[in-house]
Symmetry: C2
Subunit: 296 residues, 2 copies
């Protein structure tokens, strides 16, 4: 199986699971469930849940063992996008080529649907305890990893520093903080949560952590490069917006050439960490290549 | 111990625990931690965490057994107030006599501090598993109860219907939905979560559920009555705001006299449910009286 086939197949599995887990769009009060579903099914690539599934499969477990927790990460990612797009935050009218949640449902419902997705995400992680063979204790450990990665020590912290940085001269420590927290934390969390749910050993967890940290940084720097050099049509969003907002990014600090060299290094380090899984590392390796080479 | 002394003593316990659990106001990035603490320590009465503690003590357990989960409910309550006060929602400048979160920290930080409090609430529930004698499985059950009470099947659902109702003719089913979901769910949740964490039996859980349902409704109707007849100075907020907004409330539908009769009935039903705990029901009874007679 190629990585593209894998992403398609596991993406479909995630889509079906999300549709099954989320309250129906007609359940009362319907507007909030419609709004939640609108953003969850607005064309996300399901990177975070797929990472959890890929980790489980690398460790010899089935996707089903981590599926609720995997999907919770897509809900957390989606809630963060809905709130980020609000007029008082980034004030974006479009995301992935579609009107943003508050443009369709109004700001009040957008705030509440983000809140509801975040709340439901934790309910979903707890449901992972219903799966045969999963210890309740490991579900709690996974939940703590995901909560820590989503809060002020993770994604929200990264978002706050990113906001503050728009008013300041960019520096490398600030850039690194934003990268590891705003995006990196929610790339690493599905990997580590799946490792806990699958009972990974210390050596495996260490390798997965290094893989995840490098992948997260790789993901963000490629994103920043695409914001400078990308094709707006393929991306489904405007290019050059980071520069216009004077956002601190890797290309802004070090230029495109240096950023591309960094991408190459990170890809190599991620694959080196995955090497201990032997043949089972095929998809981890494929993903590192795919992220490094992606155009959207 | 009188109920007033009990509320004061357990309120102090909750305040100290919240101060210990929450990240310090100077932890990086400090603005978000300051904003979280600003609203958490803005004079809340700690009703929800005290209910969890009172339930534990009624069942013969120590407060410490449920303390993290109890505090999580105050964080969820606080996040909901911060988001409710936003300009796109109720647009309130003051709460408990103090400027609202977004008036002090700006809208973006207010949205994020609500998000962070909600996220941290779930991390805190998970920490309840560190307490000696608490089974991980019961923590997961308690977490599910709290998540369900906070999401679209609970508080958020009630908030949505409340918003929609401002544009419609008030009806009893809509009023009942709002009462049981917007306020009632987060009054019942601490009681049921504590019952799970303390290993309550079926009969005890049933009695506590009836008590909690009646108490929640009692709490809300008294709130609505105070919004009509209360003293703005004692309440720390303006009176008559519900009528100005044409909010569907019990007094608006049935008048003050009928609302006061309902308060009397609910208080009696709550105390009847608590009767099965014998002498241990003293504080449950005291609280029903206190809520029915409160002036702020």
């Amino acid at each position: 199986m190629t990585i593209k086939e894998y992403l398609k197949s596991r993406g479909k599995l995630v889509d079906e699971a999300l549709d099954k887990y989320l309250p129906g769009g007609k359940s009362y009060p319907s507007v909030i469930h419609e709004a939640m579903r609108y953003s969850v099914f607005a064309g996300g690539k399901r990177v975070r849940p797929i990472l959890a599934i890929m980790t489980a499969e690398t460790l010899g477990c089935k996707a089903q063992r981590v599926l609720p927790a995997a999907c919770s990460l897509e809900l957390i990612h989606t809630y963060s996008l809905i709130h980020d797009d609000l007029p008082c935050m980034d004030d974006d009218d479009f995301r992935r080529g579609k009107p943003t949640n508050h443009k369709v449902f109004g700001e009040a419902v957008a705030v509440l649907s983000g809140d509801a997705l975040l709340t439901f995400a934790f309910e979903l992680i707890a449901r992972n305890a219903d799966i045969k063979g999963v210890r309740p204790g490991s579900v709690i450990e996974a939940l703590r990893v995901i909560a820590a990665a989503s809060g002020t020590g993770g994604m929200v912290g990264g978002q706050v520093v990113d906001m503050l940085s728009e008013k300041q001269e960019p520096t490398l420590p600030v850039l690194q903080y934003i990268h590891t927290h705003k995006t990196g934390a929610l790339i690493l969390a599905p990997i580590m949560a799946a490792a806990l749910l699958c009972g990974a050993g210390l050596k495996e967890k260490k390798a997965l952590r290094i893989y995840g940290e490098n992948l997260g940084l790789l993901f963000q720097i490629v994103d920043d490069i695409l914001n400078v050099t990308g094709d707006a049509g393929k991306l489904g969003k405007s290019v050059g917006s980071d520069a216009a907002r004077k956002k601190v990014t890797y290309p802004a600090l070090f230029g495109i050439e240096d950023s591309r060299r960094k991408v190459k290094d990170l890809r190599a380090m991620a694959k080196e960490a995955a090497a201990c899984f032997g043949k089972r590392a095929a998809m981890l390796n494929g993903l590192a290549d795919y992220v490094a080479e992606r155009e959207s």
